[in-house]
């Protein structure tokens, strides 16, 4: 009951003020203004820019997380010596606070004191603008997301892999199917349902990416790497433009649900074909 109240109150509260003009700084009394907030947001180039940025980060990073995570999980599952040690070690990034991860990333990517620049300079690529060029900054953000959350995919895919029956593989081996074919014909289809669940969770969580961007690029250069939640954060906690922020949040919610439903709709036929 309490839990329900806590979960629902924020929803109700913010829905109600999303129809108001309400600023805490400078103090202004709330004033009902209908859909003005929504109209204003939808008409703002910045909103579409952050939608685009966030989507790009989410799509690329979740895709890479899944591919790498799946590959690593498969490798771990292959009973390689020391894989139990790997298992714990490889999970570590997801246990670290995103703020801390972003700080670490800034340290590594620092063009002057960071090791990565020195490493790449040895290969003849000095002074890459990791965080100060638009495209590089996006790439860096995606890389950090992948670094932190691939372990999540590894963990769950590994759990999934362990549920697969061994005899199917034995049967396939007898039929002289290559490892590669076995993977595509058995492993991948059988893990499709759990894969969908994992990707779905990652999409939802990735859309909320904020700390990483905030610490690494601050949304810059310009607004090139600004994400939805960072935008909402700036509006909400720097400007205390609460009505606007709430409206933004609801658009955000709608957007995620749309993306989620589209994703599920796309993969559904494939999943159902399996079961």
């Amino acid at each position: 009951m309490i839990v329900l109240a806590m979960a629902i109150f924020p929803l109700i509260y913010s829905l109600s003020i999303s129809f108001m003009h309400y600023r805490l700084i400078p103090p202004m009394p709330p004033r009902f203004n209908g859909l003005d907030n929504y109209a204003k947001i939808l008409g703002q180039a910045r909103f579409w820019s952050v939608i685009y940025t966030t989507s790009v980060i989410v799509i690329f990073s979740v895709f890479l997380q899944y591919v790498i995570g799946f590959a690593v999980a498969t490798a771990l599952n292959a009973k390689i010596r020391g894989s139990s040690v790997f298992r714990v070690l490889l999970l570590m990034p997801m246990l670290i606070a995103p703020v801390a991860v972003a700080l670490i990333a800034r340290m590594i990517l620092n063009p002057v004191i960071g090791p990565l620049d020195q490493f790449l300079t040895m290969f003849g690529f000095p002074d890459l603008p990791f965080l100060s060029n638009k495209n590089w900054a996006m790439g860096s953000l995606i890389a950090v997301e992948v670094w932190q959350w691939t372990p999540f995919v590894i963990l769950l895919m590994l759990a999934g892999l362990q549920t697969l029956p061994r005899d199917v593989y034995e049967a396939a081996t007898l039929e002289n199917a290559s490892k590669w074919r076995q993977f595509w014909d058995i492993t991948f289809p059988m893990l499709l349902p759990i894969s969908v669940a994992i990707i779905f969770i990652r999409i939802i969580e990735s859309f909320k990416i904020m700390d990483t961007v905030f610490v690494m690029t601050g949304g810059g250069p310009g607004i090139a790497t600004e994400t939805l939640t960072l935008f909402a954060y700036q509006e909400g906690f720097k400007k205390f433009n609460l009505g606007y922020t709430s409206a933004l949040s609801f658009l955000f919610l709608i957007f995620i649900i749309v993306i989620g439903v589209i994703f599920l709709a796309i993969v559904k036929p494939y999943v159902e074909k399996r079961s």
Partner: protein, 336 residues
């Protein structure tokens, strides 16, 4: 076969390097003196820089904030919240797996309409405070919705799957707004005499509430994978439901519980925004302090690294302990 395996090993080592190098970097940086950091990258202690304990001495002396206090707070709140969330979430997940629920969409909508409408009306016209109007509107909505659910209603009926989806969709809402709304709610509760801000239970409750969706989502899958016969065996023996859950279901899902507990604890341990708004002096948590090392006057990487290590090490220790639990082959003997 052999080639494939060494290939996989090679790939693993490569990924392990990518994973571990940044962590190694944190560790060595935490023992560097400022010039060893600012002068360009240095890699090996004693060889290309002289390790120093300065950053740790700063932390120990309290110069960089109250680490002992925040670690204690984080541990207490994190463990309690994770235990409670895992407990409640498991129960809910178990119920959702084993018992079919049917909630009519209509009654859900009615609940929301009354809760929201009632809240707004009472707040703006009823002259009540936020907490009171919310409490009243909320209880009324719940009662009406439960009653309505028994009647015949047009519209689709939501089954367990939909309930779970609704649960998880809570996680979709941007935390920024949620944090502020919760802060408002807590401060109103504080005015009506129930201090929630900056209290142990206030924080714990928030974390329980916001960990539940993930716990339910994860535990649901684990419970669904359990052989139902084992529970039926107990059912036939006239074991009460709660004892089946406690004595049989929970022990059988130890690996899942361990994983879930770990994920929950990691979430609570690292959570930042709620902690920022809902704590002051008494129950400030570690992430606030770690984030604070990224100060306005510049990044003192040695201090940041030491602080980050403070935050990571307990998690790693716990991961190692729980990792053991997660690998247990307990299920083997249950069936077949």
């Amino acid at each position: 076969m052999k080639i494939g395996r060494s290939f996989a090993t090679l790939g693993l080592f490569f990924w392990a390097f990518i994973t571990l190098f940044p962590l190694y970097w944190v560790v060595v940086t935490a023992f560097k003196a400022p010039p060893a950091v600012n002068g360009g990258p240095t890699y090996l202690p004693w060889i290309d820089f002289d390790p120093t304990l300065q950053a740790w001495r700063d932390i120990a002396s309290g110069l960089r904030g109250n680490f002992v206090g925040t670690v204690t707070h984080s541990t207490l709140i994190g463990v309690t919240a994770s235990v409670l969330a895992t407990a409640f979430g498991s129960m809910a997940a178990y119920a959702l797996v084993r018992f079919p629920f049917r909630v009519k969409l209509g009654s859900g909508l009615i609940f929301f309409a009354i809760a929201m409408g009632g809240y707004l009306v009472l707040l703006n016209y009823g002259g009540l405070s936020r907490s009171n109007s919310m409490l009243i509107a909320f209880s009324a909505a719940l009662v009406v919705a439960v009653l309505v659910n028994r009647m015949h209603l047009p519209g689709p009926i939501m089954g367990n799957e939909d309930i779970v989806f609704w649960f998880v969709s809570q996680r979709m809402f941007p935390p920024v707004v949620v944090a502020f709304a919760l802060f408002l709610m807590y401060s109103e509760l504080g005015k009506s005499g129930l201090t929630m801000i900056d209290t142990f239970w206030g924080m714990t409750l928030v974390y329980v509430a916001f960990s539940l969706p993930i716990v339910v989502w994860l535990m649901r899958d684990f419970f669904a994978a359990l052989p139902i016969e084992v529970e039926e065996a107990a059912l036939v023996e006239n074991v009460p439901s709660w004892r089946i859950f406690v004595d049989i279901v929970l022990p059988m899902s130890t690996p899942g519980l361990a994983a879930t507990f770990m994920i929950t604890l990691a979430f609570v341990w690292n959570e930042f925004l709620f902690a920022l708004f809902l704590t002051n002096s008494k129950w400030q948590t570690l992430p606030i302090l770690v984030a604070g090392q990224n100060s306005q006057r510049g990044d003192e990487w040695w201090a940041v690294s030491a602080a980050v290590m403070f935050a990571i090490v307990p998690m790693i220790v716990m991961a190692a302990i729980l990792g053991r639990l997660m690998r247990s082959g307990l299920m083997l003997g249950a069936i077949k």
